[in-house]
């Protein structure tokens, strides 16, 4: 893949050069101060070397201005670097509006990746060049960390919540994917590849794959098979046990205890796993927990579905069919035949297929 003795990592993302520039600046600053200190020490060692055993140093000539000078200069340099570093960080942190959402789930010791159109991979992520990708990350067990050195990005994958990171590849090639947070015996084997392809090659690759239902379609299946639909039916005017989820995602939700929260990924997740934690105003805490009954992958599918019900345009990264990749005929055509291949052992998912007629990917 690379020369046998490289000294610098590949640069393959839109932001990797910004990180490298920041790093290079710091290396220069560090080099300057290290050489300054080492040079002064060596010079003073030689210049003021003790010649006679009874010799003592000169009286100190205290200098307040020096103390101020060498406090203020490092502080100034650091504040500049802080501002620069924070700017780069927020660029790394905030996905652009055109980012497409993929999902990666870490478990001891593998990465399970799902493309927006349903394509799944293990320890590999094929992706198109130039497309911003937002990875939604979840863990089934311990803390992992999704790390792609060539993209200069890393994000811990924390059980019990979603985290995310984004990148836009600028160079085709095969790049390392590492787990960076120690996660047990096979931590160093929890590695894989990010394969950046020309968009055309990527589509060909998708076409040749097993396909699968899109995230939203799978979520919709689950919504029915888990009987969420019984209480969260969209039927205005009728009193029901749970609130309708139409238009909820991304909006402000008023809770029974008077607080208001934003219905984001982590809120929906909590509401499924621990429904009594934040009950919507006007409803009783009657929903049962789904903790232990649904997998991390099913959770992300369900949330994708709930998001697709959200307010107009709330799913820029939801892969609701409007993404450049999912719209390919091959991906769409394969979607109904080979779903749930990887979840064949999941009773919930097979049950979902029997009620498949109810699925209606909410296209706009």
């Amino acid at each position: 893949m690379k020369s046998t003795f490289p000294l610098f990592p590949d640069s393959a993302s839109a932001l990797s050069h910004d990180v490298d520039a920041l790093y290079a600046a710091w290396v220069l600053v560090s080099l300057f101060f290290t050489v300054l200190i080492a040079g002064l020490i060596i010079f003073f060692m030689a210049r003021y070397r003790r010649r006679h055993p009874e010799e003592v140093g000169q009286k100190e000539r205290a200098a307040l201005w020096l103390e101020i000078l060498w406090s203020v200069i490092p502080l100034g340099i650091m504040l500049v670097m802080f501002a620069w570093g924070t700017r780069v960080f927020f660029q790394l942190y905030r996905p652009p509006a055109d980012a497409v959402e993929y999902t990666a789930i870490g478990k001891q010791w593998m990465w399970k990746v799902q493309h927006p159109d349903g394509q799944r991979e293990i320890n590999t992520l094929h992706m198109p060049l130039g497309q911003a990708i937002k990875l939604k990350l979840a863990s089934e067990d311990v803390i992992h960390s999704f790390y792609v050195p060539a993209f200069r990005v890393k994000q811990d994958v924390v059980p019990g919540r979603y985290t995310s990171l984004w990148f836009r590849a600028t160079k085709t090639g095969v790049y390392h994917l590492f787990c960076a947070e120690y996660c047990g015996t096979e931590h160093s084997r929890m590695i894989g590849s990010i394969i950046v392809m020309e968009p055309r090659d990527y589509e060909n690759w998708l076409a040749g794959g097993t396909g699968g239902k899109s995230m939203v379609a799978s979520g919709s299946d689950l919504f029915n098979s888990l009987a969420c639909v019984t209480c969260h039916r969209a039927s205005p005017g009728i009193t029901q046990r749970g609130p309708s989820l139409e238009g909820v995602f991304g909006s402000q939700v008023k809770l029974a205890d008077g607080r208001t929260v934003v219905a984001d990924d982590n809120y929906v997740r909590e509401s499924i796993l621990n429904p009594t934690a934040k009950v919507v105003a006007g409803y009783d805490p009657v929903m049962p927990t789904f903790q232990g009954q649904i997998t991390e992958e099913q959770l992300t599918q369900l949330i994708s579905y709930v998001r697709s019900l959200g307010p107009t345009g709330a799913a820029p990264a939801g892969g609701s069919g409007g993404t450049p990749t999912a719209g390919t005929p091959a991906a769409g055509g394969a979607s109904n035949t080979s779903s749930a291949q990887m979840d064949a052992n999941s009773p919930l998912n097979t049950a979902g297929q029997t009620t498949g007629s109810a699925q209606k990917p909410p296209q706009k």
């Binding site: 690379k2 020369s3 003795f5 490289p6 610098f8 990592p9 990180v19 790093y23 710091w26 560090s30 101060f33 290290t34 200190i37 080492a38 002064l40 020490i41 003073f44 003021y48 070397r49 003790r50 006679h52 009874e54 003592v56 140093g57 000169q58 020096l66 060498w70 406090s71 490092p74 650091m78 802080f82 620069w84 570093g85 924070t86 700017r87 780069v88 960080f89 927020f90 311990v142 803390i143 790390y147 050195p149 200069r152 990005v153 890393k154 994000q155 924390v158 059980p159 019990g160 919540r161 590492f178 787990c179 960076a180 947070e181 120690y182 015996t185 931590h187 160093s188 590695i191 903790q291």
Partner: protein
């Protein structure tokens, strides 16, 4: 040796009579006189043996790590063994060597001498701390013998509380117990420094070693209880399944990271502040000059201790902490670098117009300044958000904290040991091997850890048992360096042991240094001073008639 007759001459000592005079080493004999001693100097020697043993053990684990990483494939042992080895390396080095080394050995020995006191304020508590320390160590060793622990020294949840099948609780209990010994020592130091200073020894006449030990003790007193609570919570979740950190039980794993680093980041300052104190002593003594900006250096220690409590979140930049929290922790982390930088500049400025000697302790001290500069600067790099995202949890971090802990704390500890060895034993070690050891440690250290900066920026994650082949060359360099470093560490053990029997007698003050600890015989008598000293000068005042006369006299004499 005729002890009874020598007891009658507590007079002005000379080189020849030094060994016949009663001192803390020949005051009593037999194992009971050591194991039940209340003399701070003897307890320091006991600690010296304990921490050296733990250091050797931690070093052995380090050697195994480097050996395994010689090749990309995991071939020396399996991943489970490797994970246990790096975990035990970290635990041994952090909790049983780096944290106690300088306070418990040099601090115990020197604090009463430097403040002109007969002993620490609470001698029994001091002895108890040594026993508690060893009990904690034995607990942890017991867990190794039984199969070890594989969580890393950081014990991140829910891996440690739910998923690891190793002796997590036994090991953590060892650390919990050890924490009490640290607290005992710190409490003792604080009380001693407040209450037992000699007449005339005001705060601004205290040696900087005392200032830094005082700041360290404050951090220990405030921080250690937090790690104790955290360990108890881990045990509660692991044994009783109380949901605290594991999300499946309703807990939050990031809460653990906050609690862990709320102690463990200040713990970094527990390790480095005493080292800074030692370096201030060495630089002053071997330049025969007052530390440049004494008050600034003293207050810098306090500033580091205070700010050190406000920066723990820089370990969590990519852990799922809010980006705004990350921003605040980033800027606070940079603030704590200012007093550290100021110290480096002040030490360097002290050399200016000094009388700089190139003796072994000074070589270690100057090596410290260079390595700590690199460790500090890379630390500020890591506090820069945009860089940390990439290098977090890679070998860049590993290199950085070894520059601070090994290049900093261990260099200072060895420098201090070489400086005060004649004070502790009354003997001199041979010059050439000791200078050679300083050189080997410096060169070996850089060869071991500098390649790791490059490895880290290239993206090699830490705690990897096997790695992609393109990382091999740098790993081989690192292992080669570790071999040199190992020899550098072995040498002092050999010649220090040798010097006990064969070393030339040192006289009371072989370096011609000023300071209360040098105003009493070497080795000191059990009661430290025959007459309570009265302090009339700030520390490190070499530019005085009497100092000059004494040095001239000694120069002519020997």
């Amino acid at each position: 040796m005729d002890i009874t007759s020598s007891r009658s001459i507590p007079d002005v000592p000379t080189r020849e009579t030094a060994f016949e005079r009663p001192n803390y080493l020949n005051a009593e004999y037999g194992w009971k006189s050591w194991l039940f001693t209340l003399d701070h100097k003897r307890i320091a020697i006991l600690y010296l043996f304990s921490v050296t043993a733990f250091f050797a053990l931690g070093g052995l684990f380090a050697g195994l790590i480097r050996l395994e990483l010689l090749t990309p494939e995991g071939d020396l042992f399996g991943p489970d063994t490797y994970n246990r080895v790096f975990t035990m390396h970290g635990i041994m080095m952090v909790f049983f060597f780096l944290i106690p080394a300088i306070p418990a050995v040099l601090g115990n020995f020197l604090i009463p001498l430097m403040v002109g006191a007969k002993d620490l304020a609470m001698p029994r508590l001091n002895l108890a701390s040594w026993y508690v320390f060893n009990i904690g160590g034995i607990f942890t060793l017991w867990s190794i013998v039984n199969g070890g622990v594989d969580t890393g020294w950081t014990f991140y949840t829910p891996f440690s509380t739910t998923y690891s099948n190793t002796y997590v609780v036994a090991t953590a209990l060892g650390i919990f117990i050890n924490g009490f010994s640290t607290i005992f020592t710190a409490l003792n130091f604080i009380v001693t420094i407040h209450r037992m200073r000699a007449p005339g020894l005001s705060w601004f006449r205290l040696p900087l070693f005392i200032w830094s030990m005082y700041a360290t003790s404050l951090v220990i007193m405030l921080g250690t209880p937090v790690i104790a609570i955290t360990i108890l919570l881990v045990a509660a979740e692991r044994l009783l399944h109380l949901g605290i950190f594991d999300p499946r039980l309703g807990g939050d794993p990031v809460l653990f990271e906050h609690m862990f680093w709320f102690y463990s980041h200040p713990a970094v300052y527990i390790m480095i502040l005493p080292a800074m104190g030692v370096i201030s002593e060495l630089v002053a003594a071997f330049s025969r000059k007052t530390i440049f900006g004494y008050r600034v250096v003293a207050f810098a220690s306090v500033a580091i201790a205070v700010l050190g409590f406000l920066v723990w979140g820089h370990h969590l930049f990519v852990a799922g902490q809010s980006a705004y929290a990350g921003t605040i922790f980033s800027v606070l982390s940079m603030l704590v670098a200012v007093p550290s930088a100021v110290k480096v500049f002040n030490w360097t400025a002290t050399l200016y117009e000094g009388s700089v000697s190139w003796q072994t302790p000074m070589l270690y001290a100057l090596g410290f300044i260079g390595l700590f500069t690199i460790g500090g600067l890379t630390g500020v790099m890591l506090a820069t958000l945009g860089i940390d995202v990439h290098v977090h949890d890679t070998y860049f971090i590993v290199a950085h904290f070894h520059y601070v802990m090994v290049g900093g704390t261990i260099m200072a500890y060895l420098g201090g040991l070489h400086y005060w060895w004649p004070k502790m034993t009354g003997r001199l070690y041979p010059t050439f091997p000791s200078k050679l050891s300083a050189l080997l440690v410096f060169v070996g250290f850089n060869l071991t850890f500098f390649p790791q900066f490059i490895l880290g920026y290239m993206g090699m994650p830490r705690r990897y048992w096997s790695y992609p082949p393109e990382f091999q060359v740098l790993n081989v360099l690192s292992t080669a360096g570790a071999t040199v470093l190992g020899v550098g560490y072995l040498l002092p053990i050999l010649y220090f042991a040798w010097s006990l029997k064969f070393g030339e007698k040192s006289g009371d003050n072989p370096w011609g240094a000023v300071g209360l600890e040098w105003d009493t015989p070497s080795p000191p008598p059990t009661e430290n001073f025959y007459v309570t000293p009265v302090v009339t000068h700030p520390p490190y005042t070499y530019n005085r008639e009497e100092v000059h006369n004494r040095l001239t006299q000694e120069a002519n004499f020997g």
